[in-house]
């Protein structure tokens, strides 16, 4: 029997199998941010083991609360900054050059097909968009990753999701993944990898694939994985052109990680998304999903566009296309946070920032910020936010606040009317 992408990556990275079913893998990328890494650093110091296994494989960014909002967040940033300097971690991104981890690390070309990556952040599953195995872990796994370059996993089973048909206009990767999570449920993929296949994924850009994989964790999935193809090669080409004689050669190499046609799956799900409508969440779990039409009329106080799910340039283009020539409703606070400085600059060059500002949006620097209720747009008790983020848990964006997840396009339409609105109605 053939192998899934995850099985191939596991086989190629196996360092040890201390017990049957427990696989200790060599890790290609240990990614760090200022919220979950400082305690690992402090513990390593306390143990007298303040070392790193390979500074070139460790990448770090200050992204959750940046620039620091108070003494505590300033200390977290300082701990990460001092540690990166001490160990000569060259790929460290501080204020002015920093962006949301799951947007900036791929943008720098750090993630390649067949790689293993861990980070103390549940949305690390995003990086599977490149045909990599990338998993969110806790601080202890991160600490061992930093020190030893390994991480232990139960070898995950794989759920294959075939996305068939053709996405209709005005319907995006975010709508697809919300729909899939609605089908799987919040624990439908626990201890599983979700492998995305089919013409809909093949037609998606890397930005869209990252949106798709970003929310695998919301179904409990360890990682979302897309199959590497020419889209992957084109995205990575500026970073790999010296390693390969041609794009065709890079493609041939990357295709070693494509799942075999006779691979064994835990489950195979087929969805034809040709008639899919824009999706919106309604409760406090990401599998509570309805169509934007069904949710139409729900009043919101704030609209938040950005995050590791939907803060990339294509997302900003989609939102701006709806906002152009229109104004945010008087009752709504619109906030947009481009996910990285590069995306911010592209949005400036394309005139998107002008459109957002003309519409009455507040444009913030790249940061995770309000998505998890830490800064830059925290909700008050009883307030409702339409957000392009990935988590609608009760109080997620502020105690007593409510979050409806949706695509940038739906969020933009909602900002204009002040109530949840299907953008296709404009």
């Amino acid at each position: 029997m053939g192998h899934t992408t995850a099985e191939k990556i596991f086989a190629a990275h196996l360092r040890d199998e201390p017990f049957q079913g427990t696989k200790v893998l060599d890790i290609d990328r240990v990614l760090c941010h200022e919220i979950t890494t400082p305690v690992a650093i402090a513990d390593l110091e306390w143990r007298g083991k303040d070392r790193v296994f390979d500074a070139s494989k460790i990448k770090a960014v200050i992204d959750h609360v940046t620039p620091a909002k108070d003494s505590k967040t300033a200390l977290q940033a300082k701990i990460l900054r001092d540690w990166a300097r001490r160990h000569e971690i060259k790929d460290f991104f501080d204020v002015g050059r920093n962006g949301v981890c799951h947007a900036i690390f791929p943008e720098k070309g750090y993630i390649r097909p067949g790689f293993t990556a861990i980070m103390g952040d549940s949305h690390t599953c995003t990086h599977g968009a490149f045909g990599a195995f990338a998993a969110g872990v806790g601080t202890t796994d991160l600490e061992v990753g930093i020190l030893k370059g390994v991480c232990a996993f139960r070898e995950p089973k794989t759920i294959r999701v075939n996305l068939n048909g053709k996405l209709p206009g005005g319907v995006y990767a975010k709508d697809v993944i919300l729909f899939v999570i609605g089908q799987l449920g919040v624990n439908g993929a626990t201890d599983r990898v979700i492998e995305f296949h089919g013409p809909v994924v093949e037609a998606m850009s890397m930005d869209a694939r990252m949106t798709l994989c970003n929310m695998a964790i919301e179904a409990g999935g360890t990682c979302g994985i897309c199959q590497p193809d020419m889209v992957t090669v084109e995205y990575l080409w500026p970073f790999i052109e010296e390693e390969y004689a041609s794009k065709a050669e890079a493609l041939a190499d990357f295709q070693n990680w494509v799942a075999d046609t006779d691979a064994g799956y835990d489950k195979v799900l087929d969805f034809d998304v040709s008639a899919l409508e824009p999706q919106v969440t309604y409760g406090f779990k990401p599998d509570c999903v309805k169509s934007a039409k069904e949710m139409a009329g729900t009043k919101v106080d704030q609209v938040y566009i950005g995050t590791c799910t939907n803060g990339r340039i294509e997302d900003l283009r989609q939102a701006a296309a709806v906002l152009k020539g229109r104004m945010v409703a008087d009752s709504v606070r619109g906030i947009v946070s481009p996910a990285t400085p590069k995306i911010f600059q592209e949005a400036l060059a394309e005139g998107l920032i002008q459109i957002f500002m003309d519409a009455g949006f507040c444009v913030t620097n790249p940061t995770c910020g309000a998505c998890l209720g830490m800064s830059n747009g925290v909700l008050a008790e009883g307030e409702v936010c339409a957000a392009t983020s990935n988590r609608n848990f009760s109080g997620r964006m502020g105690k007593g606040g409510m979050v409806h997840l949706m695509s940038p396009s739906t969020a933009a339409a909602t900002a204009i009317t002040g109530v949840i609105t299907d953008a296709r109605s404009f």
Binding site: R47, T140, M374
Partner: protein, 177 residues
Amino acid sequence: MKKTFGGPSIFLDRGDINTDEIIPAKYLTEVTKEALKPYCLEDLSLDGFDPKGEKLANARVIVTRDNFGCGSSREHAPWVFEVNEIHTVIAESYARIFRQNMFNCGMLAIELPKEQIDKLFALEQGSGDVDIAINLAEQEIVARGNGIEESCRFEISPFDKALVEAGGWVEYADARY
């Protein structure tokens, strides 16, 4: 260091309890585990639950339903239990990262079938005081409450057991890799 397990239990009768409920993100700006102590389960939405109540203060074991610890990867969730001396969670199922974080900290995330969890919840009816003893070597729990005793075996992977016995993943990995 190897931890101790068992003691008075608190019952959280809801599935999908997420890490934001266990420890809200606003406390993630702390850089020590000890600082998290007052905020355990602060945002849990569950009728009748009091995060400042005696029941939680005395608890050493949490008994709950399915998909416990879903959401964020924050190890602050197991840590807030650890600093409150809750070293054991017994649930129908867990989110992967939370479960691994528990074992990585040398703590126990015991999984039992729904029928067995139902029996434990039944013990809580009445006086409400249930004490659960845990024998890791024998992989057995004994719960006493309401004048009734309920015992059962639990499964734990040899790796997870080795982590608990080593005191956590750092100790285990450091000795081996």
